[in-house]
Symmetry: C2
Subunit: 638 residues, 2 copies
């Protein structure tokens, strides 16, 4: 087990946040769940994605602009963003890895050479389309691409200390700041139809201390909901232009947006930007809007997996309780939500944000990646007939590098600090070591989470200034217990942080026990698709039943389970990369009453004579075996 | 009651059909259901649609090409088709109506003046886009528009005897026949990405006896599934071109298409064309494919309303049993299916086709139109939160004139003849009179169908050559009885035609009794969205519950009904244009267990203490009062 970590200083707390995240460089995971996935990310995912970017012409688009290659523009107009997201992912993973360092340098070289003298950088709007720059911010993703460049640059700078790509990003950001703003300042109004640049600019502000980037982020968010829309230049009030402004979150001002609407990834990035600006400026109207959006999302528009976006048309959130089983649930939307919830968590330390972050990490995000690390889901349905399979790449390839950068940055989601305490948000075997004002802190987690609910946190080093540990007790963990050095602590309330005040000394051990009995879950009856059905969870993991575990004659969509039946949980090392399999006995609906008819006069549901062994696997692991039907929601026996 | 009808000759039976439809000119409806809707169609729908076509520039597009007006092209590239569909609707309704006659003449004048010398006619591809004609048959709807012109022309010719627009259509059809065909004949391969021209060409063949039009229809259908696709010129085998060929039914040959796939309206029109070609040529492979498609559609991919197309993305059929409540169920798709089923019915006289035709007429089609006659649904969801409302027009306005032409042509769906018998497919008070070889036939229906199941069919005139009446007994009418002059007939089997052989004389009366008890319906358990729910039908009418009939505190989506509870049916003249309202007592799900949580550990469903009076109205009549939630599928009490 590698617990050697460098000594990192935690960046200063942002003015309006309660917590400060411990950077990923301070955290080393050595568990059997995430660490192997990080290795696959470095060894399989990143190299194959680089190869895809090369063979699909995404890198050539830069060479074309820099004059290094003669070719046509390839692919979709926002393909630059895939390169940037890949670079960001590589940046998180490259310390100590010469191959990844070389990969980053190669990308940086190609990108930098394609930048205009005025700082503009977008390979689609260079050369022949130069005249159309910045005219259609609604659809053309120029600021979106710029945002991903900036995020990658900040990640690379923080990971390496080099400003090679940060300088490129700053020139582009300066060009953007010079271009967009109030007309009174001699600029052009603007807001991006695919949010992303907003939180990127705040990250750039934090990396450079240049306040104009923060101001620009604040401006862009504030420019939504303008009349006429700020997303088009020259501006227009033509009726067609008002079509579907909800899709771009452009129908109201941010402070008036009380639900999650439109394109779900854009909505999540928009919220990230507003949360970041709040952290710096304390705009309470925006915080209230963020909380309203969060409540609407989690209480009415989110799948049990944490998947977001019911609608395939528009990759969008549906209405309240519109959560059909053919979910869109774009992998990127889950990632955007994980990013947003990390931000909300730093604002006030409410455990609900960490709970959601964890739910989406294990289920909504992780389902997007094959166990092999080189196949991806763009959409994540909660039930399928067997035709939806992961793909090695997409024409619109936003999801693959997004998964890679999330996995690369994952250690940065585990811990935070505030004035006097260290917060433990996520659980996995490993270690964290960083510098507090009073001296170094080092903790070690020993656990087989998420398969096991026992987590031992050892204090290896602790300065006197650290007076408390705050450990998340997930909302599902009713009956959780916490001990310090064999002494029971009384603060283990599910859905909150167990705060343990103590004069900490090296060798102190906190033993957390989270009950891991499987749980049947039901949805609000207004969710049309799930009436009469139950889902199965254990710890943070959402389960499904997949045809590969059932006899050929029994369609998993006909299986019915009883909440009263015994549920057996067993860890199986050889199954699907090592998972806890859940087993119970179920019934099978007798469909003969329909006999080729889709509808018939109402009859009570009947079951076939023979019961069936029900095998449930984690949802994230489905579609890694032979194709067949799958469902998360299972018929419930009366 | 107007029973005066002109004496019409039934056109010759098509070679491979069993039945011949009695033309609409032979049928007069004088009932309280359809006749008032036909009047609204003539007096409200057609004039307001003409006005919409004028104000949205659809007519100006023709004037622009003919040089009568200087303006830009307005709207969507296939807007011509709306004018043609409106003309077709007007043509069905104009006999004896000077205003509608003038409207038709005005449209015909504008359309004819825009035709090219070579016969080409499409206002989008005239003038500046002339060079792009016929290059992208996949997307650009040129043949689709041509098909609607041809259908309108045939309707106008049959209604008036005038060839004013038929001549225009023939010139265009000749140009099409000269252009597309096998390369060996010096022509260009072609197939249309939005089917429509195929059955239109067969109609033109029947109206003109020109065999090249039939041959062209057969060719176009046969050109689907080619490699490379025949939908693009010059042809290409580029991989991007193979993207989503299922959407256009271009992935296999017609004879190999065994399910209903892709864009649902296109699929229906495609099937219409193939059924028409079968009727003329007897291609048994195509008939087998049509029957397979029909079985797939009705057993796995159709809403209980007869609505077609689950997916908003692509306006398309979903997978088997993918029938989510936010149905797309485009009004045009239901109309396409009604047209297709009329064709299947003539082929073999199987009552299942007439059953489906009727189901879709009363439910899937009729929901598309407001009671006022000037507002339309494009999509017909089976449950809604109250935001989906009918609109006066659409940018893509295919549905409104489609409803108008269906209502205009409706009398033509009621009766057929074969060698020796007259077939009664649909029921409504009214009369039919036409010429058989042996002399005139006249029947009168007296009934209050669909609210009442008693239908009296009086033989007013009958030649000796008419030896049988064949009367449809719907599949839902178990226990139906038939009497002739008070004498019970033993052939009333639900789901078939009751054949009554007899030497018919004036004054004979057939009394049909169809049981009208309300029925609870359940769906195949594999339909995810409807598990644990029931739908309510009475006769051919599908019911729903709408918020306007419930107290403000009770969301209709929380109502639960029991199959055992008493159901009361009462006709209410003043309600929603006169409907039979169904009433029962129901329970209300107690949602407090969720209390702001979307998901919680499984509990058994509980109900509030107070029961609720459940009022159900026909689905077609929803959204004609204040906005609010609606659902067809209702929770079922265990």
């Amino acid at each position: 087990m590698n617990t050697t970590v460098s000594l990192t200083k935690v960046p200063a707390k942002r003015p309006c946040n309660r917590l400060s995240p411990v950077p990923l460089s301070a955290v080393a995971l050595s568990d059997s769940f995430w660490a192997p996935r990080q290795a696959v990310n470095r060894e399989v995912t990143l190299p194959t994605q680089y190869e895809q970017c090369e063979t699909t012409g995404r890198l050539d688009n830069f060479r074309r602009v820099s004059g290094r290659k003669e070719c046509e523009f390839s692919g979709i107009f926002f393909n630059d963003s895939d390169i940037y997201k890949l670079l960001e992912a590589v940046a998180y993973c490259l310390p100590g890895d010469p191959k990844l360092t070389a990969m980053a340098d190669s990308i940086i070289d190609e990108v930098g050479a394609a930048q205009d003298e005025n700082g503009y950088l977008n390979t689609y709007f260079s050369l022949e389309r130069k005249g159309a720059r910045w005219t259609n911010l609604k659809d053309m993703h120029e600021l979106y691409c710029a945002g991903h460049l900036i995020e990658a640059a900040v990640a690379h700078f923080e990971s390496t200390g080099s400003t090679s790509i940060l300088d490129v990003a700053r020139r582009l950001a300066d060009h953007i700041c010079d271009t967009f703003g109030s007309v009174a300042d001699g600029k052009r109004e603007g807001a991006c139809g695919h949010e992303e640049v907003e939180h990127a600019l705040v990250a750039l502000y934090r990396a450079t201390n240049e306040p104009r980037y923060l101001e620009q982020a604040r401006y862009f968010i504030g420019a939504h909901g303008a009349s006429p829309s700020a997303m088009y230049w020259p501006s227009t009030s033509a009726p067609w232009w008002d079509f579907n402004r909800r899709y771009h979150q452009d129908h109201v001002k941010f402070e008036d947006l009380k639900d999650v609407v439109g394109h779900s990834v854009r909505m999540m990035y928009y919220a990230c930007g507003a949360a970041d600006v709040y952290a710096e400026t304390g705009n309470t109207q925006w915080l209230a809007a963020l909380e309203a959006q969060w409540s609407n999302m989690t209480q009415r528009r989110m799948y049990v997996t944490g998947g977001l976006g019911a609608r395939w048309d528009g990759e969008a959130f549906g209405d309240d309780w519109e959560l059909t089983e053919r979910a869109y649930a774009e992998t990127c939307a889950a990632i955007g939500s994980i990013m947003w919830n990390k931000r909300m968590l730093q604002i006030d330390g409410d455990a609900r944000y960490a709970d959601l972050m964890e739910l989406q990490l294990f289920n909504a995000m992780l389902a997007g990646l094959s166990l092999s690390g080189d196949q991806y889901f763009y959409q994540n349905p909660l039930a399928d007939g067997g035709t939806h399979r992961r793909q090695p790449w997409f024409g619109c390839a936003c999801c693959p590098p997004n998964v890679a950068r999330l996995l690369g940055s994952l250690p940065g989601y585990f811990y935070s600090v505030d004035q006097d305490s260290v917060w433990v948000h996520l659980f996995a075997q490993g270690a964290v070591r960083f510098e507090l004002d009073g001296g170094p802190v080092q903790l070690r987690q020993e656990t087989n989470y998420p398969w096991d609910g026992d987590i031992h946190i050892e204090v290896v080093e602790a300065p006197a200034s650290m007076t408390a540990l705050q450990i998340r007790i997930p909302a599902w963990a009713e009956g959780a217990t916490v001990q310090v050095n064999d002494e029971r602590v009384d603060t283990a309330t599910a859905g909150s942080y167990a705060r343990i005040d103590r004069s900490w000394a090296a060798g102190d051990i906190v033993r957390v026990h989270l009950p891991m009995q499987p749980r049947w879950v039901t949805a609000d009856p207004r969710v049309f698709a799930t009436a009469g059905k139950v889902a199965l969870m254990r710890g943070p993991i959402v389960y499904c039943i997949e045809q590969a575990d059932f006899p050929a004659g029994i369609d998993v969509r006909d299986v019915a389970v009883s909440k009263a039946a015994k549920l057996d949980a067993r860890f199986e090392t050889e199954t699907l990369g090592g998972i806890t399999v859940l087993r119970t006995s179920g019934k099978v609906i007798d469909r003969s009453a329909w006999d080729g008819a889709l509808y018939r006069d109402a009859v009570d549901v009947r079951y076939t004579a023979a019961d069936v062994d029900v095998v449930a696997i984690p949802y994230y692991a489905w579609a890694n075996r032979e194709a067949g039907p799958m469902t998360v929601w299972i018929h419930s026996v009366g």
